[in-house]
Symmetry: C2
Subunit: 408 residues, 2 copies
């Protein structure tokens, strides 16, 4: 089994100025392709430190993926460091030059000087072209270790990593033994309940419990079959708690079901402050099914925009199952959507009373004339409570839509 180390390069990473999302992206892709990631290392734009990190990595892994340090500035040192460490001269790549020219056609000519170094790659390296930018990537072999250098811009890196993984798959096709993994996401079932039924590693994030399954087989095809069977088994055991695998999210599952059932949705939010609408509108093409969102933070907004009866708020308070239900019903009626969602609660840290503590949230989903209202008590920070509430609301909508597909 190939072992790997990911090295993310950039002073902004080691100083903590940015969260490194490249490492987890690459780790997931490698793991899915049966490569075992042992370490992730981050190091600043410093030749000496990068050399030492590369040396350590090449002693303990068969595959090193680096990101960053391929830009046009003086701080971009990956090319030179690889060249010095492994004693391979840098040579210009003609095709890379054409790529960069095409990319820069609309830029000011003075800007282009810096990009000249971006065509330089170690002699004999496999060139990985960049369709989305000017940083050329490459892969070299040193002893038993393949070293792949990619840029740090996520969009550029991601498509270039896929290109490399195709090369990798081709190279390792004939090898015996393949380990693949898959993430299966669930919601609405506790981690413990999942673990009671399934012997696998689990992970919890904003209420989502993810089961990670792993299969080793002689061939890739066989490993995929084992994973398919295991996934099927988990889906049977956990039922509709399973909402997706891999990159799928609660919002993408809801969007897919809205499309499948041809239903429209409208959302009235108080404590989540627009987060549910924001999540749903991250999905391309949602505009056909998502009609409107109302962030009715003030009571006035609840009364004016949504026509929630003032007496209801006075009698039960803005944070109550009655008001959540009225918000869902009113936004549904207002928009003529098929589904209405209402969320009201106390995200904290202030606003709590003895009867209504921080984390108390009411979520209502109305489909046709049938309403479901959930009383939830979440723990954590203001942002945790917003996230738990938004995910719970999306999951309630998902389950309603599944019921709907079963009736059809």
């Amino acid at each position: 089994m190939t072992t790997a180390e990911i090295i993310t390069i950039g002073t902004e990473i080691v100083l903590g100025q940015i969260v490194d999302t490249n490492a987890s992206y690459i780790a997931r892709k490698l793991t899915e392709d049966g490569i075992r990631v042992l370490f992730q290392t981050s190091v600043g734009d410093d030749k000496g430190l990068l050399k030492s990190a590369l040396k350590i990595a090449s002693d303990r892994a068969n595959l090193i993926i680096t990101t960053g340090g391929l830009g046009p500035t003086e701080n971009d040192i990956t090319r030179e460091t690889i060249s010095e460490l492994f004693d391979i001269p840098l040579v210009p790549d003609k095709e890379a030059y054409v790529h960069i020219q095409k990319h820069l056609v609309n830029q000011h000519p003075n800007v282009q000087d810096g990009y000249k170094k971006q065509v330089m790659i170690p002699e004999g390296a496999v060139v990985i072209h960049n369709e989305n930018g000017t940083a050329t990537g490459f892969a070299i072999q040193h002893g038993d270790t393949d070293i792949v250098c990619l840029p740090g811009v996520p969009r550029e890196m991601q498509s270039m990593l896929n290109k490399y993984l195709e090369i990798y798959a081709e190279k390792h096709r004939s090898e015996e033994g393949c380990t693949l993994t898959r993430d299966i996401h669930t919601f609405g079932i506790s981690e413990r309940a999942v673990e009671d039924q399934i012997k696998a590693m689990t992970l919890v994030h904003d209420g989502i419990v993810t089961v990670n399954i792993l299969a080793t087989a002689v061939t890739r095809e066989h490993a995929v079959k084992i994973l398919d069977r295991a996934e099927q088994d988990i889906r049977e055991k956990l039922g509709h708690a399973v909402f997706g695998v891999g990159d799928e999210t609660l919002e993408s599952a809801v969007a897919m079901l809205l499309k499948k059932c041809n239903k429209t949705i409208a959302i009235a939010e108080s404590c989540t402050g627009g987060l549910v609408s924001d999540k749903l509108t991250n999905i391309p093409g949602i505009s056909e099914f998502f009609l409107e969102g109302v962030v009715a933070y003030s009571n006035k907004a609840k009364i004016d925009i949504l026509n929630v009866p003032e007496e209801l708020i006075e009698k039960y308070g803005a944070v109550s199952s009655q008001v959540a239900r009225a918000m869902a019903e009113c936004v549904k009626k207002r928009s003529s959507a098929n589904i209405g969602v209402g969320i009201t609660g106390i995200a904290g840290p202030t606003g709590a009373t003895k009867e209504k503590p921080v984390g108390l949230v009411y979520i209502a989903v109305v489909v046709d004339d049938i309403a479901e209202v959930k009383e939830c008590r979440f723990r954590g920070s203001r942002i945790d409570i917003k996230n738990f509430s938004a995910n719970t609301a999306l999951n309630m909508v998902r389950l309603k839509l599944i019921d709907n597909t079963l009736i059809l």
Copy 2:
């Protein structure tokens, strides 16, 4: 100067199932306190690999901060690994036991068995108690290196890290030489324009250009003074482009100014889908100033909720400066807020026409009777365009509020 390495422990990290936000948090805190972070390493729940990572780290850094692996399960191996690697026996800590008992008072008694190992710490270690959970942290010294082990749950880790940094500051108070850094965030000015005026490292994220300044001095107080002076200098050069330092965000700056000016706000969003409302409502206490948000995704919603004239949409299209302005004016009027914001655009990947490409966004801000409308052309993914648009809108509001404070 103290050099540091951060080791984040967890199979879920190396497999890419979660994005490791602890490493960047710790790196930022250490850097602010004058500690130079050289490497960040992530490693799975594996004693052998963790030992090798700890050994390498203790050879190249004076301070190691680990997170994760202090839980109650068999996979939590940090305590045992430290004990074996440095040959220090684990002993129970009485005070930790009391802490855990208090924390678990409402839990089922059967659950408590696993927590017994969480009171075990290396003999002679400095104990770092956990106010928010059951994982006890500790710090040991090995040769020239301090090794600090904290849990992986961010909220628990963060307050325990602060406790340790107080111990660290006390220990290093008398030492000569202190290096501190500070992040100064700007918006609305290009990276190049910033770099032309200020010689410092910059970083760009969702349109925010951050300047990182650094000061070395004999004492901490002196270093702080140098940073204050440098910050003052940058503020003078870049003016109102500077919106905050450190943890401050565009939304926290807007919230602070709304409070200062005692102004209320209402937001009508189309392509940003609720992101501006979501960002603003992440700030505690915003409910006094943020009245309502409307996510008017469909034309019908723009007409019905906001009373945007139908003829305007027909004549100029939903994505136009006229409609953005009408959205801002209408939501302001609807809610009786002092400030109205309207955003309409094409987030992509679909929905573009020849005249109106993906990334074309109109943002309007209306204060009293004065409207400002900006035509923007953003590049990137759907989510990039949402983020750029939201930040641009928040910044326009911020600048209006600053003008307002100057008039007062």
